[in-house]
């Protein structure tokens, strides 16, 4: 048997949609338990106070990456069988900068805002309303944005293909990068905490 199971087992459209709801429930539940339903938890990463978001995100990426490349290695799920995301580097760079801006201004990203709405956060309702407005505006303006949106297309290129190194080396490098970053931010957290404590108690006798 080979993955994706939907094509090997010839699931009907209805079964695939049921599976989508189940995967979504798992996704939403984990995001809630991770603490991503609160804007303050999400924003505090950008002030060096709590890097929970980065810990969850990098651990998730490394876990799934190791799984995906292991299943590719044993031939159970060749990497080409999953929907690989194409690269359009300039729109992705600009869109990423904008999404980062939206994140720190609004307090959420699209996925986390849905979980926040589900847990009653009124600020998240405004954020989700904003996403609808922004997305609709993009569609409305698309005739003049299409050229930019389709520019710098590189196809479905993976990082190791682009660098010309084996996939196993890339997996190792990304895992090391994640461990290194998380070690570094743990130190930053401790430094920020220390400086906040000394600001709050300026007259501590030494």
């Amino acid at each position: 048997m080979q993955a994706p199971l939907a094509s090997t087992l010839q699931w009907t459209h209805g079964m695939q949609m049921e599976m989508a709801v189940l995967v979504g429930i798992g996704f939403g539940f984990v995001l809630e338990r991770a603490g991503f339903g609160r804007a303050d938890n999400l924003a505090s990463i950008f002030y060096g106070r709590d890097f929970r978001v980065m810990r969850v995100m990098f651990t998730a990426i490394v876990t799934a990456m190791i799984g995906v490349y292991f299943l590719d290695l044993i031939g159970f799920m060749p990497i080409g069988d999953i929907g690989l995301l194409p690269t359009y580097w300039l729109p992705q760079l600009i869109g990423g900068l904008m999404l980062g801006a939206g994140f720190i201004i609004g307090g959420y990203c699209p996925g986390t805002s849905l979980v926040a709405v589900a847990s009653g956060k009124i600020d998240a309702i405004f954020f989700v309303g904003g996403i609808f407005i922004g997305s609709s505006a993009f569609t409305l303006a698309y005739p003049s944005l299409e050229k930019f949106h389709e520019s710098t297309s590189m196809g479905r290129v993976l990082m190791h293909e682009w660098m010309g190194i084996p996939s196993g080396v890339m997996v190792l490098l990304v895992a090391l990068f994640a461990v290194g970053s998380l070690t570094a931010v743990t130190k930053i957290e401790a430094m920020v905490r220390k400086s906040l404590e000394s600001k709050q108690l300026p007259e501590v006798s030494s």
């Binding site: 924003a43 900068l97 939206g102 201004i105 609004g106 990203c109 996403i131 299409e146 990082m159």
Partner: protein, 171 residues
């Protein structure tokens, strides 16, 4: 009301999130996402308003080519699940509370204005980048897709770059 359940250890939550994403790949070959569902919903609103215009729009026209329609698709059902899963998580942790999250130096109304503006920027951004933190950074990050990693660094860059200017909202 009894005490709410604590958040998970971030590394444990990360492994769980990674396994959900892996399960998604194994089951149907697709990753996670969120903003794509919003794109589909707003597309069907444009379609209801003016079917010809919507079908001819290069951004959303492709959604109306299939027999199943713009909404009867993976990403929309996934996001319905996300809302259900979030509700399930919040209910079982006794964390459902109608409130506005804001820092000590900003009022509720201004926080709403910022949330709306941030949402609008994010809605445009997710369309420009062809995905958001879930559909690009998480899904493409695990695939090692080049553009998704460019996107992820750009998100951190954009947020850190602006963080100082909106600090009064949060700290």
């Amino acid at each position: 009301m009894s005490k709410q359940r604590e958040f998970w250890n971030p590394y444990a939550a990360g492994v769980a999130l990674g396994l959900v994403l892996l399960a998604s790949f194994v089951l149907t070959g697709q990753g996670l996402g969120a903003s794509g569902a919003v794109t589909r919903v707003q597309a069907s609103l444009w379609h209801a308003l003016d079917p010809t215009w919507a079908t001819e729009n290069a951004n959303i026209g492709k959604f109306f080519l299939s027999d199943t329609g713009a909404l009867n698709t993976w990403i929309v059902f996934l996001v319905v699940g996300v809302a259900l899963g979030g509700l399930l998580g919040a209910l079982s942790a006794k964390r459902v509370k109608f409130e506005t999250i804001h820092g000590p130096r900003i009022g509720r109304d201004m926080r709403w204005v910022f949330a709306l503006i941030g949402g609008i920027i994010s809605g445009i951004a997710a369309q420009v980048a062809r995905g958001c933190t879930s559909g690009q950074a998480l899904t493409g990050g695990a695939q090692l897709a080049l553009g998704s990693w460019i996107f992820m660094f750009a998100v951190f860059g954009g947020a850190y770059g602006l963080a100082y200017f909106v600090r009064k909202q949060w700290i």
